[in-house]
């Protein structure tokens, strides 16, 4: 149900919590607890694009740290936030299961492996279109 709401609206508005609670006959606190427990559920709309960079060990070993720093510097925002112009939300993800083609990323659901600075710049350029 929460997945469906997020798929429809892009995030789960706080105003939806009492409605969900009512429909499922549970307390609002329980609904709030579930939404805030999981990293995937958003409380506010994301940017027009979502760029996830894998920050787990296999990607760290393959040079993921400087790439993450580069993306943050280029966009001027830290991980987990949206660029001021609303173009892109930059997020850390802990493993996309692409560890043998590390470092990896996901742009709006599209997977990218063997990421390097040039490829990352290409992805960032895509988000500005």
């Amino acid at each position: 149900m929460l997945h469906a709401l997020q798929a429809e609206f892009g995030y789960i508005d706080e105003a939806a919590e009492p409605l969900i609670a009512e429909a499922l006959n549970i307390t609002r606190a329980e609904v709030h607890g579930v939404i805030t427990f999981y990293h995937d559920f958003r409380r506010a709309p994301a940017g027009r694009h979502v760029l996830k960079l894998c920050r787990a060990e296999a990607c760290q070993a393959a040079g993921g740290d400087p790439l993450a720093a580069h993306a943050q510097a280029r966009l001027g925002v830290p991980m987990g936030t949206t660029a001021p112009d609303g173009s892109v939300t930059l997020e850390a993800v802990y493993c996309l299961g692409l560890c043998a083609v590390a470092p990896s990323a996901m742009l709006d659901g599209r997977v990218i492996g063997r990421l390097d600075q040039a490829r990352l710049d290409g992805l960032l350029a895509e988000t500005q279109q």
Binding site: Y38, E57, A61, C99, V111
Partner: protein, 517 residues
């Protein structure tokens, strides 16, 4: 004559351009007026060669890779004549990296069309279920017990014993749950099976249903795996149509059906009891054990919960017999393990082999060292909760007990390779930071210990009262290890303490030679 090509739709192959390669080859074939048929398969697991395409020839499939879209024209032109091309790797089955493996669980992965139940059956799929039906529930559980199969998710608990416990528990409703929340960095075997041979997982779960009297199954897949979710959903529909699932599976009187449930980005949900809570629609918080899920699992009912690879190994065990499977391996680790080589490694991928191969062989010979060309300094085995091993421990055989004896774990079989630029104090800090982010918050050692641990490591790195803080860290790790409810808090000390023990110089210790003087 129509040329038959296979090109992976595995997520990691797509991530390096397999989709563009497939389109480019179609276009090139159209331009050159060559009739081709492209079948999209899973990956063979030789990821440094992806996108790897294969062409059917009378002698067998011939591989080419890594193929870029701009190679399409010359490749199609070569295929019109003798197939000679600079990217030609020879017969796929003869590639040494693949040839020296023992592929039991992954027998079909990369070969069959994951969307075709007919193709699955043409490659021996379904034989395990047939045998299971002829044996009956009790004898079939005995086969799984005899095979020595242990939980491939990491805990290594004997699968057959778990099944027997559920079979012997009476209840109106029982469940089969597959843990496909493969969150460990450096692991991707579950994803490969779901994307490359999903019917083997369905067959394994259906067999578990027959064995225990469960009629309903769930596959809990992490949201980071959209391709696996789609592949499993398509396979379940096809399996229902083809009689592998439904009211009369395989024409028998047994009923079994299943569905996919998608996670929401919580690492801790890979822990079996928090996964069950998450499946019930709650926060994924760890439950205290006992009661065991086998007695009191999903919705309070007896539940078999196993990893993807455990279920996927069952069909071949039944097809070939418990003895066949048990004859591979060493000690109490029987059968084969799909090992995943990842990180800074030259030849990364899926290497399934009998237990007993040494860590050094895996990293140096099979993995061929680092991709950066620098010396290997450390490897982390078993995901973010696994220990860091230095070269000095490379003689450790891949075996549950051997790793435990050296304060490590094989976990889900992932090996992440690091070169000599790694800072082990930072890796230790990351392990604690990750635990703090992902802790479900139920028990104090994990929730508070991880946050305090990050602060202590920071003080050690800053050389603030270093010796005393190392003592605090050691003590804290002990508390977490013995006081946490589940493996997240309980095993986070493995990467931390192994880094501290094997790489003290990164924590400010004097190099050992000087210290000895």
């Amino acid at each position: 004559m129509t040329l038959r090509l296979t090109i992976p739709i595995d997520a990691a192959a797509l991530a390096v351009g397999a989709g563009q390669v497939a389109s480019a080859i179609s276009a090139a074939a159209a331009r050159q007026k060559v009739a081709i048929e492209i079948v999209r398969t899973g990956s063979r697991g030789l990821y440094w060669l992806e996108p790897m395409i294969e062409v059917e020839t009378p002698a067998g499939r011939v591989a080419y890779g890594p193929v870029a879209p701009h190679d399409a024209e010359s490749l199609v032109a070569a295929l019109r004549v003798d197939g000679g091309h600079k990217l030609r790797l020879g017969l796929t089955e003869e590639i040494p990296w693949l040839k020296r493996q023992t592929r039991l669980t992954f027998a079909r992965c990369g070969i069959v069309d994951p969307r075709s139940l007919a193709d699955y059956r043409a490659h021996d799929g379904g034989k395990g279920l047939e045998r299971a039906l002829s044996l009956g529930a009790d004898a079939l559980v005995e086969q799984v017990v005899q095979s020595g199969l242990r939980g491939r998710g990491g805990a290594g608990f004997p699968t057959g014993i778990k099944w027997r416990t559920v079979a012997q528990t009476t209840a109106e409703q029982k469940y089969i749950v597959c843990n496909a929340d493969e969150g460990d960095s450096g692991t991707f075997a579950d994803r490969m099976i779901m994307e490359g041979d999903p019917f083997v997982l369905i067959e394994g779960m259906a067999i578990a249903g027959i064995a225990t009297g469960a009629t309903k199954g769930y596959v809990y897949i992490r949201s980071e795996y959209p391709h696996a979710v789609a592949a499993m959903e398509a396979a379940i529909l096809a399996a229902r149509k083809g009689g592998l699932l439904g009211n009369r599976i395989g024409g028998s009187s047994f009923a079994f059906d299943m569905e996919v449930r998608v996670g929401a980005g919580a690492y801790v949900c890979g822990e079996e009891t928090s996964l069950l809570d998450s499946l019930e629609g709650k926060r994924g918080q760890v439950r205290a054990k006992p009661p065991l899920p086998a007695h009191h699992g999903l919705f309070g009912r007896p539940t078999v919960i196993n990893n993807v690879l455990s279920f996927a190994s069952v069909p071949i065990i039944l097809d070939k017999g418990a003895g066949f499977y048990r004859d591979f391996g060493m000690g109490r680790s029987r059968g084969t393990m799909p090992i995943q080589l990842a990180g800074n490694v030259k030849h990364g991928g899926l290497f399934e082999t009998a237990f007993g191969v040494t860590l050094g062989e895996l990293v140096d010979t099979i993995g061929a060292g680092t991709n950066s060309g620098r010396p290997v300094r450390a490897v982390q085995v078993g995901g973010p909760l696994g220990a860091y091993f230095p070269r000095a421990l490379f003689d450790t055989p891949f075996d549950y007990e051997a790793f435990t004896a050296r304060d490590g774990l094989i976990g889900h079989g992932g090996i992440v390779v690091f070169d000599d630029t790694v800072d082990m104090a930072r890796q230790a800090r990351f392990a604690l930071e990750f635990c703090a982010i992902e802790s479900c918050g139920k028990c104090t050692p994990c929730r508070i210990g991880s946050a305090r641990g990050v602060e202590v490591v920071d003080r050690i790195i800053k050389n603030d009262n270093r010796a005393a803080n190392i003592e605090v860290l050691t003590d804290l790790c002990n508390t977490m290890k013995f006081g946490s409810l589940c493996a997240l808090g309980g095993f986070t000390p493995y990467p931390v303490m192994s880094a501290l023990t094997h790489f003290p110089e990164d924590f400010g210790a004097q190099p050992r030679l000087q210290a000895a003087e």
